[in-house]
Amino acid sequence: ATPLTMQAAWINDAEFAGYFLAMDQGYYTEAGLDLEYLSGGPDVIPESTIIAGRADLALTTPDTTIKAIVEQGAPFKIIGAQYQKNPIGIVSLAKNPINTPQDLIGKTLAVPPVNVISVEAMLKMNGIEPGQVNIVPYAYDPTPLVKGEIDASLDFTTNVPFTIQQAGEEATSFLLYDFGYTIYNDTVVVTEQVLAEKRDLLVAWLRASRKGWAENLADPTVWPPKFADTHFKGTGRSIENEVYFNTAQKPLMESPEGYFALTEDGIEKCLSALGEVGIVGSTDMFDTSLLAEV
């Protein structure tokens, strides 16, 4: 087996269940890969890891990746996308619901600093001036939302509503995707050099990962409990949370063209949405040929 290293985008949670399954079931080994999996975290910038040569491929948010290609000349290629629809959305409490961008006017919205321009783009697309919404930093803890200090937060809609339910509140949310900010997420990114040198391995990785995801999402409640003592051990999260997450993310990942699909339409939407933010990408930043081989 040939070694291959992947950098995930966040700590171990259901967002990466498909990879865990593929690892545990030996799909990567079958494909001739000796996969090393690196967990992420809030201060881990996956693109940096592949630039530094610490990993061969990384799961990224496309806005960051494409901005880096455009502005820094980073030699990245996107060879797949885990989420066909970005799960990031505006989450609020049902008792103070925010169901559309218009509802945000005059409200306080917590956004991770990285995502501020995405939110501003979405607001602009919906005819709202950024000044009309009070944007404050968000550090992934929903307590201020639950306590009403903020009215809404930008977070993974697949995840936080569960926490809010646990806290005894009802959550409501909408995806940025559904209001014009049509980007992928957890895009699979490699450097041009790796693409050239390890193309076969990458194809093998995509194939094995697809298999893992298909099996995992066949019944989203089955696999997370199996990782309780392995991949999910000591993460501080609960298995119920992962099941919720896994279930919620299923519709966002599925595509008629299979998992990781990069469709012409999808790429077009992604690029045009980013264009609104001032990130002018192009189709040649995507390499769909590997998926074609799978």
């Binding site: 950098q7 995930a8 700590i11 171990n12 949670d13 690196l38 967990s39 992420g40 975290g41 809030p42 201060d43 881990v44 910038i45 693109e47 940096s48 890891t49 630039i51 530094a52 040569g53 610490r54 960051t64 901005k67 880096a68 502005e71 820094q72 980073a74 991770p112 600093p113 990285v114 995502n115 501020v116 944007i135 404050v136 930093p137 550090a139 992934y140 803890d141 929903p142 307590t143 201020p144 939302l145 639950v146 306590k147 009403g148 200090e149 995840n159 936080v160 926490t163 809010i164 646990q166 806290a167 051990k233 000591g234 993460t235 501080g236 999260r237 609960s238 949370n241």
Partner: protein, 521 residues
């Protein structure tokens, strides 16, 4: 007496705990976002299976970092105390080690080192400056009368150091180690945020953040505090044992034989240039040696290009200046507030040791509890304005200053304090006329510790809560892989810290010089 005092300390801590319980149970603070201790304990018990792995990981990194950082710090402190030119030469580097925002360096460390190394490095960086400063001041304040004895017997510089200065510096170094303990633990935890590992209290905290369960977060914070607290208590005890009756009997009146800025003008100018150039040279060399890709690791030249020559330079400058304009004013206020708070506490520690021993656990929590975990609570109580920034800045700055100051106050010889007492002076008059002036060198050392931290405190508040200034700029830039901006912010924040620091040094030299006291800088 001693037993009574210890009892009073325990009693005060218990009262505090009880108060906390009541507040927590009734949800008096922040709509119940502050969990009562009982909930935290119950939660700790429920989570007991998770903890061992995380504790071991954090313990390994923080202990290794603590040991390495302190060994280097004491060695460096000795060298700097013996050779003021070296101290000047390394000032920029020393301050950078203290003032560089962990959020900026953690990712870089993770990319250039592997395994536990990034965590150990960050923990070591967290302790280095504090212990080094404590060593330098301890050595500089050594009693010249005792030095004369050794010198009169032909004692070498080394013997003077070993027999008099180093031993004399032990109380001060122990104070440094006390501050270092929480710094090491926090450093290790912060490194986990950028490292992507599976184990460690920081990692556990990350996973728990999204749960919106403050009792878990507090549990993690309290375990970290416990680790730091044990170390703190150990060194405090050692310090009390060692110090006891061994402080100087009388004040040393001797005026330091001023060497001053010696040497010809060209040598002094050369020295000044070298001390400015060296940090940049080292920065450049480290980047080259680490072999990190140039898109990530920027040399001083790259930063210059980014800020002044590149096509995007103007935008970058504008962003940076706008952010600085937001950050700087509050930094000044935060610096003063942090120092004032430390000063008030230090005075209180002299006037009412019991109160302080009860307060100490609270102080330690503020030092080891990662602020990310506290932010929700803080914003609920204080909002997201100036008062929050000030409180965060105070919490980031006061502790080293407080311990240093308290140490200085504790070292004042009995005979000096007898004088005002014999005239029936109030405790306050005694402090004002004798104790505080006698410990001025420590007051300045404390100020020097506060200055670089204040900027860091403001940046953390900006990053976590207010979304303004260079703290926010730094965080946003990370998301866009705008490493040019990341390094610019880091460089500017270090340069600012150095400038503030230098201002303090100038004032310190003038004041202490006028009063006939030895300066450590």
């Amino acid at each position: 007496m001693a037993a009574e005092r210890r009892f009073a300390g325990v009693r005060n801590a218990l009262i505090l705990l009880l108060l906390w319980e009541v507040i927590g149970q009734l949800g008096l603070v922040a709509g119940g976002a502050l969990p009562p201790p009982s909930d935290i304990l119950i939660r700790l018990w429920q989570d007991r299976g998770d903890y061992p792995g995380h504790i071991i990981a954090t313990l390994q990194a923080s202990v290794a970092g603590f040991v390495i950082g302190n060994v280097v710090a004491v060695a460096a402190g000795v060298i700097f105390a013996l050779s003021p030119p070296m101290l000047r030469l390394f000032r920029g580097i020393n301050i950078a080690a203290f003032a560089l925002p962990p959020i900026a360096i953690a990712p870089i460390l993770a990319l250039t080192l592997s395994g536990m190394a990034p965590r150990i490095t960050l923990a070591a960086l967290g302790v280095y400056f504090v212990t080094m400063t404590a060593t330098v001041i301890g050595i500089a304040q050594a009693d010249s009368r005792a030095k004369d004895v050794v010198r009169a017997y032909g004692g070498s510089r080394w013997q003077v150091l070993r027999l008099v200065q180093f031993r004399g510096a032990v109380p001060s170094i122990l104070a440094g180690l006390r501050i270092a303990a929480p710094n090491a633990v926090l450093g290790a935890i912060l490194a986990e945020f950028g490292g992507g590992g599976r184990w460690g209290l920081g990692t556990y905290l990350l996973g728990s953040l999204g749960r919106g369960e403050p009792d878990r977060l507090w549990g993690i914070g309290l375990i970290a505090t416990l680790i730091a607290g044990l170390s703190y208590a150990g060194f405090a005890l050692l310090s009390r044992k060692l110090l006891g009756a061994t402080k100087a009997v009388t004040l040393n009146a001797a005026v330091p034989t001023g060497k001053g800025d010696s040497g010809p003008l060209w040598a002094r100018i050369g020295m000044a240039l070298a001390s400015v150039a060296l940090p940049f040279a080292l920065w450049w060399a480290l980047i080259k040696l680490s072999g990190a890709p140039s898109m990530i690791a920027k040399t001083p030249g790259d930063v210059f290009t980014y800020l002044f020559l590149a096509p995007s330079a103007e935008t970058a400058q504008a962003k940076l200046l706008a952010a600085l304009a937001q950050t700087l004013p509050i930094t000044f206020i935060g610096m003063v507030a942090g120092l004032a708070f430390a000063f008030a506490l230090a005075i209180l520690s002299k006037l009412s040791p019991r109160f302080i021993s009860g307060f100490m656990p609270v102080a330690l929590i503020t030092q080891t509890m990662p602020l990310v975990a506290l932010t929700p609570l803080l914003v609920l109580i204080l909002g997201r304005g100036t008062s929050l920034t000030l409180w965060i800045t105070i919490s980031v700055t006061f502790f080293p200053a407080f311990v240093t100051l308290a140490q200085g106050l504790a070292l004042v010889p009995r005979s000096a304090e007898d004088l005002p007492r014999a005239y029936g002076a109030s405790r306050w008059t005694e402090l004002r006329m004798v104790t505080i002036p006698a410990s001025l060198p420590y007051l300045f050392a404390a100020t020097r510790l506060t200055v670089p931290r204040a900027l860091l405190g403001v940046m953390i508040a900006e990053w976590l809560a207010t979304g303004r200034g260079i703290g926010n700029l730094l965080n946003q830039s990370r998301g866009y892989l705008d490493y040019g901006m990341i390094w610019s912010v880091a460089a500017v924040s270090v340069i600012l810290s150095v400038v503030f620091y230098q201002l303090v040094v100038v004032v310190e030299r003038r004041v202490l010089g006028r009063l006939g006291m030895a300066t450590s800088e």
